[in-house]
């Protein structure tokens, strides 16, 4: 009898330990949560004597980190009594950071401010009432007069503006290798048809016409192809429902997209975006499409000179349009010290702050009154284009669509990469749009 009970207990104990074994293996994926624990410990102590703000971002390396540090320097000189704490979580494009952030927001433990792409990427936070409308700050600081109306329109959600954009990046840029262009006596292709003609020649000589990287860089290519093939107005209409995803124009744009894959490298899925840029630098590939953060990679990391080591043009069919994305900072509801956060946002939106940040990061300021002379040549050109071109939001980088919609599009694209089935891709896109 006792023996029997002991056996039962033992069985229970074994059953009880099994899940530990099972969860131990899964723990690799959850270790980001320990980061949030340690950083929240910092913000808890902020309520004591000196004011302290913890700013959450995914800028942990290269020009991004340098830009953030420059911005913090401006902040420290203007608000010496507020201590800045860097709550950055490493991981490209913020995928890890967003998971940590969601957990903290759910637990009502928001950082003083967090980075997010301006636009519909913030929709989830807005709908959950987790970030404040900053319209009052735009009025107080007069930002509506110094930031382009087109930008303000595109980042306004439900009548409010919920973040302060610090920079603008251009998504629709095609990078080229000048030596290959010279050798074959080519210009940067202005349309995709031109590209296909060029591509045949290049491919016959063993040059990769267009280098591609892992899946998100292909989503990036996808959005620039849609913009180039549909035109700016129709492309912008995709996101507010005025353009149908079901149209014949869309089918033909998707067919163009499909055809591009005949002229790309076979190992794309194993390359980061830098590796894909590297193929252009080395002359293995003629062209690559990537946002203009690649300019910093060419000029700073590889010490190349524009027009000698690399050249650029708007991606085919998109001349006159500036497809943009913007990094911005928010004011979370229930921020530990609201006034300090507002001080941070004021610096982030100031001309001094934006110039300090953007020269380092390699992007252009969201404000139109920045000091052009301190920027390198590419960025000066980008500023001129930003001032004169039509605007279009980027999908891959959070401006055009909500996170849920973007994820559905990415899934449809990923399935397409396995099958190359254009009709199924279009069905998936139509279904994704209908669910919004």
């Amino acid at each position: 009898m006792h023996l029997e009970k002991n056996k039962t207990l033992k069985a229970l104990a074994i059953a009880a330990t099994i899940p530990f074994v099972l969860t131990a293996c899964a723990s690799g994926s959850t270790d980001t949560s320990s980061d949030s624990d340690s950083s929240s410990g910092g913000s808890d102590s902020s309520s004591s004597d000196t004011a302290q703000i913890e700013v959450f971002s995914w800028w942990t390396g290269g020009g991004e980190e340098a830009g953030l540090n420059a911005l913090v320097e401006v902040f420290n000189s203007e608000y010496p009594d507020i201590e800045f704490e860097n709550g950055a979580v490493a991981g490209g494009a913020g995928t890890n950071a967003r998971a940590v952030l969601a957990t903290r927001l759910e637990a009502n433990d928001p950082p003083a401010s967090f980075q997010g792409h301006a636009g519909l990427e913030l929709l989830d936070y807005i709908q959950a009432g987790q970030i404040e409308d900053l319209s009052f700050l735009y009025e107080e600081m007069g930002w509506s007069d110094v930031m382009p109306q087109e930008l303000l329109d595109l980042i306004t959600v439900d009548g409010g503006i919920y973040s302060v954009p610090v920079n603008i990046h251009r998504a629709n840029v095609m990078w080229g290798n000048p030596e290959i262009l010279d050798e074959y006596n080519l210009d940067m292709p202005a349309t995709w048809d031109e590209f296909f003609e060029t591509a045949e020649v290049l491919q016959a000589d063993g040059i990769i016409p267009l280098s591609l990287g892992e899946q998100w860089t292909q989503l990036h290519l996808f959005e620039t192809v849609l913009l180039g093939e549909l035109g700016t107005d129709a492309y912008n209409g995709l996101w507010d429902g005025s353009t149908s995803w079901d149209s014949a124009e869309m089918t033909s744009a998707l067919e163009t997209f499909n055809r591009i894959y005949d002229y790309t490298n076979s190992d794309a899925a194993s390359l980061a975006w830098q590796d894909a840029s590297q193929l252009v630098i080395s002359g293995d590939a003629a062209f690559n499409i990537m946002g203009d953060w690649a300019e910093g990679y060419f000029r700073v990391d590889n010490e190349l000179v524009e027009q000698e080591g690399y050249t650029w043009a708007p991606s085919p069919g998109t001349a006159g349009t500036f497809q943009f994305l913007s990094d911005s900072f928010t004011l979370p509801v229930g921020a530990p010290d609201r006034d300090s956060t507002i001080a941070w946002l004021k610096v982030a939106g100031s001309a001094a702050g934006q110039d300090a940040f953007n020269v380092q990061k390699g992007s252009i300021p969201a404000r139109s009154d920045a000091d052009q002379s301190i920027y390198p040549p590419y960025l000066q050109e980008a500023m001129d284009d930003w001032a004169s071109n039509a605007g279009a939001p980027s999908l891959t980088h959070g401006t055009a669509a909500s996170n849920g919609w973007k994820a559905e599009i990415e899934t449809s694209l990923g399935l397409f990469l396995g099958t190359r089935d254009v009709a199924a891709l279009q069905d998936g896109l139509v279904a994704a749009a209908a669910a919004q």
């Binding site: 006792h2 009970k5 002991n6 056996k7 207990l9 033992k10 069985a11 229970l12 104990a13 074994i14 059953a15 009880a16 330990t17 099994i18 899940p19 530990f20 074994v21 099972l22 969860t23 293996c25 899964a26 690799g28 994926s29 995928t95 967003r98 998971a99 969601a102 927001l105 759910e106 989830d124 936070y125 709908q127 959950a128 009432g129 987790q130 063993g206 892992e214 899946q215 490298n265 076979s266 190992d267 899925a269 194993s270 293995d284 996170n403 849920g404 973007k406 994820a407 559905e408 899934t411 990923g414 399935l415 990469l417 396995g418």
Partner: protein, 296 residues
Amino acid sequence: MIKSMRRHWLSIALISPSLILLGVFVYGFIGLNINISLTDEVGLNNNDANFIGFENYIKLLDDPRFHIDIFNTIVFSLTFIGVTLALGLGLAILIDSKIPAEGFFRSVYLLPMAVSFIVTGVVWRWLMNPATGERTSGLNLLFDVMGLDFLINQWHLTPTWGMLGIAVPAIWQMSGYTMALFLAGLRGIPEEVKEAARMDGATEFGIYRRVIMPMLKPVALSAVVILAHISLKVFDLIIAIAGKQIALDVPAIYMWQTTFDAYNFARGATLATYILISVALFVIPYLIVTNRKEKV
């Protein structure tokens, strides 16, 4: 009587902290997760979630991405478990055959176990570089230099069967551990039994087949359960080698993406429940068998 009662209470007291923690953090959260999977909770604003029954479960069965996940998991599991068991057993038999420097070889084979899947993944990402032509590198370059061109392949980027490429590093990492399990089993077989078989005129092969293998069955069962739950939940290895791409998608990656990138908590919870059920299919029969054996 009293003494045994006291011992009884003592054992309950000793395991109760663990039981309570498990009750809350494992079983409690499993319950919470199942609860979410039965709602339509999407987005960070979870006040307006409605109960919708098993709709999420049914919808997923129609999801082409989930079909790829299931296919990939099956390909990976069968390859990984099968090859790891065979390699592990083979190595164990070799090491058990009284070779010189046995300790050295044992450590060498067991060492991959000491690194995490992330480290393994990053290294194998270089080794399994699928680039062609002048940019060939990693194992493909080795094959090229050695004149074994027919072995050059696309590894994990092979269409449809890419998961076989992912299984290679997993096998490399876990076969040493499986060897250790089998070795312990082999060492547990008394020498007299083998002697008796030899006396009866059994060949060495016959001894392995008729005497040793049957006695290793419990070890093999444990090994299968351990390897199976690793393979059903594989996540970090794929992320480190290939990032997030649909061709190499598995339920755990889909769960991560739909939960934290798209904030579709209901679908994420449903995927988590499917993973739990698939692991349970292996673990629960194992527990029942073990428990029954102990009772006898």
